[in-house]
Symmetry: C2
Subunit: 392 residues, 2 copies
Amino acid sequence: MTEYSLFTSESVSEGHPDKIADQISDAILDAIMAEDARARVACETMVKTGVAIISGEITTSAWVDLESIVREVINDIGYDSSEVGFDGATCSVINIIGKQSPEINQGVDREKLEEQGAGDQGLMFGYASDETDVLMPAPITYAHRLVERQSKVRRNGILPWLRPDAKSQVTLRYGADGRPEGIDAVVLSTQHNPDIALADLREAVIEEIIRPVLPTEWLSSETKYLINPTGKFVIGGPVGDCGLTGRKIIVDSYGGMARHGGGAFSGKDPSKVDRSAAYAGRWVAKNIVAAGLASRCEIQVSYAIGEAQPTSISLNTFGTETVPHDRIVAAVREVFDLRPFAIIRDLDLLHPIYRPTASYGHFGRDPYTLNGAIAFSWEKTDRAEALKAAVS
Amino acid sequence: MTEYSLFTSESVSEGHPDKIADQISDAILDAIMAEDARARVACETMVKTGVAIISGEITTSAWVDLESIVREVINDIGYDSSEVGFDGATCSVINIIGKQSPEINQGVDREKLEEQGAGDQGLMFGYASDETDVLMPAPITYAHRLVERQSKVRRNGILPWLRPDAKSQVTLRYGADGRPEGIDAVVLSTQHNPDIALADLREAVIEEIIRPVLPTEWLSSETKYLINPTGKFVIGGPVGDCGLTGRKIIVDSYGGMARHGGGAFSGKDPSKVDRSAAYAGRWVAKNIVAAGLASRCEIQVSYAIGEAQPTSISLNTFGTETVPHDRIVAAVREVFDLRPFAIIRDLDLLHPIYRPTASYGHFGRDPYTLNGAIAFSWEKTDRAEALKAAVS
Ligand SMILES: C[S@@+](CC[C@H](N)C(=O)[O-])C[C@H]1O[C@@H](n2cnc3c(N)ncnc32)[C@H](O)[C@@H]1O
Ligand SMILES: C[S@@+](CC[C@H](N)C(=O)[O-])C[C@H]1O[C@@H](n2cnc3c(N)ncnc32)[C@H](O)[C@@H]1O
């Protein structure tokens, strides 16, 4: 075994400060895209005690009430009173948004639409593996499910003393065959009302959050449970921790199992390849695994600002390929067009479909219809047949 | 070949907006650490047209003039006039910093110092490879050298029309033996005065920045040069792009060649394992490669908030190990103590040594004496002999 025998991934709930910021940035993006699909949006948010600051660069013909959007997102998450530490109705909303630099814009807009230049340089990765049925690594998948469950039992009243801020972490043990074998450790910290006793909280978290979510066969007497290890987590959200857009990029993607190019997603319209090409990378990798050409696949793409064609496309199949690597690379080039214009067209990205991506991961989610388009379209395995045909 | 045949990494200069934010956060950390080494600092910065906002959580007995520090950092970088788009002397400095949550603090402080709990949960990676003499991946190494050179020729007057904001990107071609073979593409965008013509700029960038830095044997007639591909980059810094702390975590680490846990470094005192355990991870991995136990090594560690012992330590040597993998793992456990207290002690991290880390990478730098301690102490290969002894 020269590979990891243990692998740990973490996730955070929608009430985590960095995720509040991501959701505000994507809600603003959606509101603008609903009226002006070709708007240029790069929206960054900072949340701290009593204040949400929105910043970045936006060029649009739409008029949207940004302040209301910010307040609505914060309240929707559950920060709606001074008691929980943050109140969407009464916090300060500061807007220091500017316009997109016309010099950047001249690199992006082209007379021929399909020659649209990348909105920035950068590198992006896409990844898929057959470790789970959603073709995602198992550790991040279960880390997400834990915090999703936290949100569910908070909202449906099963554990009414829960508050919005939470984090999860799962350490998975892998066998010599590279398959998940069991769970070594689970960490879960959740914000709570002051009136719940720690022992009761710990028991309820195990019974109502951890057990319903984690596969029984992976839990054993050796599984360590670390629940609210600080002992107290009443103060949460932006009071306890300043939140910024784009500061949970590993939670947003593959939980550390795949490489990352560093670019954030939330608040960015799809002319920014940090977002659209990372989505396309997932689409490519997932279709390769769905087509059975490899059981694990990572793709790297890179761009130069203002250029349509990627500066590089490269593939890693970790020795799991079922046909020669070169033929997979050739098939990818034949079946996928990774210019920004083509990605936006093929994944139908010019719609307000982004807010749901801003919590619980951008990948491994089921596509569904939202605002007249398909959210999570990059999860479709609609090119698997074409890939199979191309390699044969 | 099932591994990447091309690999791309990028870097940015000290004048890039996200890096301005990182440097402000680390300058504040240093100023506080100089007076109060046990302060708890988590400082986040946002820079946008005409304004620097400092936020986060700080608990300290030190009194420091934060406003002056912010202004000094901005001016030092070269943003000192409206002409260049940002002026440290006249911009607005807004301070919305709060205190560390006492509930987090109770998880970190322990009666026995060595039992100090991790300041947060999370996963971190360390990496080293013998691809370069600094035991770093080649693509990020050369991407850094390009923007360092941009800064040098801007400051020493060789190219006086350069302005502070710049980005570089290097696509390296790897041979079947996994060794770098040549450079496929170089992207360099630099901010400039309005009075330099694009053709002159491109020629000067090739002659004065690219050629002095990149190995001649890696350049060929097939190398693509993309210099200021948007055509114009007079507007730069925070006017063109909002900057945030912690948004260049791949530039800060291994350029995407290694995995990343997602935690940012700048502005965080070493009780935050996002920073200290990532530094320790580099130290471990580099010592393993320096000891000749593997030519490529990645380590993952993870923590639970409030706990001293890592929840997992796991190693990947990618088939390059020269002794059995299990013995390397055992040697790491014998030679390194990865509790937060021990990391801080062994790497001597309670000193103002952080500001220089905030540009041009936290890894692959030469250790040197700074403010009574060693900056980049995690680059020392002082445990290589102990590792060799432990495996034999
Ligand atoms: C530990 S805080 C980050 C550190 C913080 N900036 C500081 O000053 O120490 C990171 C996240 O941990 C969670 N958190 C906050 N308070 C906590 C507590 N008392 N116990 C456990 N987790 C907590 C929240 O989700 C928060 O966003
Ligand atoms: C392209 S900007 C990010 C996109 C931006 N937020 C927007 O609204 O489109 C990212 C970085 O590119 C660089 N940049 C800014 N203006 C540029 C230009 N005109 N040409 C090339 N690079 C530029 C700066 O380093 C900047 O921080």
